[in-house]
Subunit: 421 residues, 2 copies
């Protein structure tokens, strides 16, 4: 049975979702959809409408995760469902594919199976997780971290944004504070389709990637305390400039990651993504800097080597520049290998659909990292033009979206023991 995805139907859902929180930009398509905002409410409401229109039963859990389940008469409602999905939120001025592709590909899989008269033995659940990107209430992967028990429900609901608004309040205000909790342990398998955000598939001209391992991630926060002082009246030898010290740290992180790439693991990355100086006035020697450091690799040892270099650098800056430093590590996830069985199923589905597939690691975190703790999980990638993401220029050709959705449909059909008329 060859499954035919409706490219235009998939495209319409993704484009419509891209209108919520849209930001005018010169080139590309930008949207800002932070968790629990009005744009997020509209994106979720549109999803609920589309799930219901396709005959799925919708549940909203306590932290706003949305699930729609298709349980036709062929399926035993007591068996574990196959789940498929991603997220709807975005980074500020992010693109329209990161997240929505995986959610609407999941829904399109169900619609495709319905159109083909498929009779699954298991229910199929389409999922949208809360605050995957992070940045308002948490560092990211919020909904999946609660669903998989890494974080307590109450603790999550009490998380506050910069203005003191709790997740509970934001979800209640937008109508997405539900009850109960999604339980990935009760899923027989989980699939997520996402944009690659790198150039491996584009370079190889292959439309579907099958992730072998999701990179481990450490977030460190380095605080450097110098002495704020008058930029004119304080001689070069009398200052303890926190920003000059922080600049050495930024370059040390870059250098350490490049060394690990050259010697150990080509997938390792180290980034100082955020830097906040205080008092941050042109005519004042900076007194304090906080820097947010992101370290990732599919090998734990490579990550630790880069973090060790951060520690050594801070110790050296204390000795050489007289600053005081602290290092916190608020976020740390091991590398996560994907299910071998589901990977084989995805490759087989590709072969059956006549779509080429390719193994590759994921440098980005995804909700699948958490779900893989609870059940067998697979992560599929579609090509990103120029590897660009978290950016208005993020782009995946509609034909590639459809090809990846066809492969996804084949793999989901296999996991759900689908029979055709």
């Amino acid at each position: 049975m060859t499954l035919t995805v409706d490219t235009e139907r998939l495209r319409a859902d993704i484009e419509r979702t891209g209108e919520f929180g849209a930001v005018p930009v010169e080139r590309g398509h930008a949207r800002t959809v932070r968790c629990g905002t009005d744009a997020n409410r509209r994106a979720r409401e549109y999803l609920v409408e589309q799930l219901r229109a396709a005959d799925l039963t919708v549940e909203i859990d306590a932290v706003g995760n949305v699930a729609g389940t298709w349980c036709p008469s062929s399926a035993d409602p007591e068996t574990d469902p196959v789940a498929v999905g991603s997220h709807l939120d975005s980074v500020p001025e992010g693109g329209i594919f990161d997240g929505p592709l995986g959610v609407y590909a999941g829904l399109e899989v169900v619609r495709t199976l319905q159109d083909a008269g498929a009779r699954p033995a298991r229910p199929i659940t389409v999922v949208s997780f809360t605050e995957e990107e992070g940045g308002r209430f948490a560092d990211g992967l919020l909904g999946s971290s609660v669903a998989t028990g890494r974080r307590g429900v109450e603790e999550a609901l009490e998380l506050t944004d910069a203005d003191g608004v709790t997740l509970d309040e934001a979800l209640t205000d937008t109508g997405f504070r539900g009850e109960g909790l999604l339980d990935p342990k009760g899923w027989t398998a989980w699939f997520e389709l996402h944009v690659e955000q790198d150039t491996v598939l584009e370079s190889a001209a292959v439309p579907v990637g099958v992730v072998t391992t999701i990179t481990g991630i450490t977030h460190c926060e380095a605080h450097i305390e110098g002495e704020p002082n008058h930029a004119g009246a304080t001689g070069m030898d009398d200052r303890t400039d926190a920003l000059a010290a922080a600049s050495e740290l930024v370059l040390a992180v870059e250098r350490a990651a490049k060394e690990v790439v050259a010697t150990d693991s080509t997938s390792a990355v180290g980034t100082v993504g955020s830097l906040n100086a205080s008092p941050n006035a042109t005519n004042v020697v900076p007194g304090a800097v906080t820097a947010g450091i992101d370290v990732r690799d599919v090998r734990r040892a490579s990550m630790d080597r880069i973090v060790d270099r951060v520690r050594e650098t801070l110790a050296r800056l204390e000795r050489e520049r007289g600053v005081q430093t602290t290092l916190q590590r608020p976020f740390d996830l091991d590398p996560t290998p994907m299910s071998d069985q589901l990977r084989r199923a995805v490759h087989d589905a590709g072969a059956q659909a006549g779509v080429e597939t390719l193994d590759l690691p994921s440098g980005a975190a995804h909700d699948t990292m958490h779900v893989a703790d609870a059940t067998d999980a697979a992560l599929l990638f579609a090509p990103s033009r120029d590897g660009i993401s978290h950016n208005p220029l993020e782009w995946t050709d509609w034909d590639d979206c459809a090809a990846a959705t066809r492969v996804l449909a084949g793999a989901v059909a296999d996991a759900a023991d689908v029979q055709f008329d």
Copy 2:
């Protein structure tokens, strides 16, 4: 004739002024007195009361500069007065001495001369300039820039703050939108006493500094444009990280200033005081950075050498890192030498009062920079404990305030051709 300053009277005025806009802090004394605010109104009203109480005739000019003139019968009202003063506004959470010391030392000079039965041949004018610190309507030195013709009155009155309020409105609302304009060209001499904001006097244990040259100041704004991208999915060799590039710039500015100090001019300083990264999220490779650079020296050539190094560094970063850069120079003031004749008069006054004096440059900008274009100008410094200023811990001992005011009184008396009974 030995002049005796009333330390307690001077202290009472400075402490009272420190109460306007006071901010509770754990240690020290903080005040936030932005131009044209209620705190500024109260500080100005108190000054006007004290000027009138000492028999000075008060004028408010079009941009809110306050002047009180003592013209006793001994003085010819047609001759050019001697002017002395400073400013009353502060940086956010600034100290109580920066500005008010110079204004109330000026008034205390008049009261001291009155108490001593002095008969000046010239009037003596005590001045408080509008918005010396800047930050609400302008970069700083606002009142003196208008009084000396560097900036037009109408242009100044139309300056707006971040909320769109004009200087005209703020002055009118607080009752300090006067008429006409102070004219420093009509002053025979100008004196300003200010806190040093560095440790030269403290280290030398000398209570009065006599400024040789006020540093020149350049403010540059460098903009570095890289490519924002996913911190996990973008390999180390595929990124154009604006923050890593900016970090090289920060260190290049520091290095360039230190080299100039070592080879050319010990007073040179170069600071990257502000740095704003975008999107400034830990998990995104920084796409753009704007850095505010402050370069100062008493030698123009040293300043230019540091700015040249900024330009060279940006050009190198374009070549080596593929970033795009721009450099703007919104603020540029030449070094300003003080009047040799008035400097000698201040040293002589110190010798006569038995107070040690010391030549030194000023690394900070002061209204005296502008006034020196219009007439002979002198700038005196009192010691700053630990060199701290623009900070609640700013402190100058009351005895040092009084000693500096005695020296100031001697120099003003000399310039005003004072006779004693």
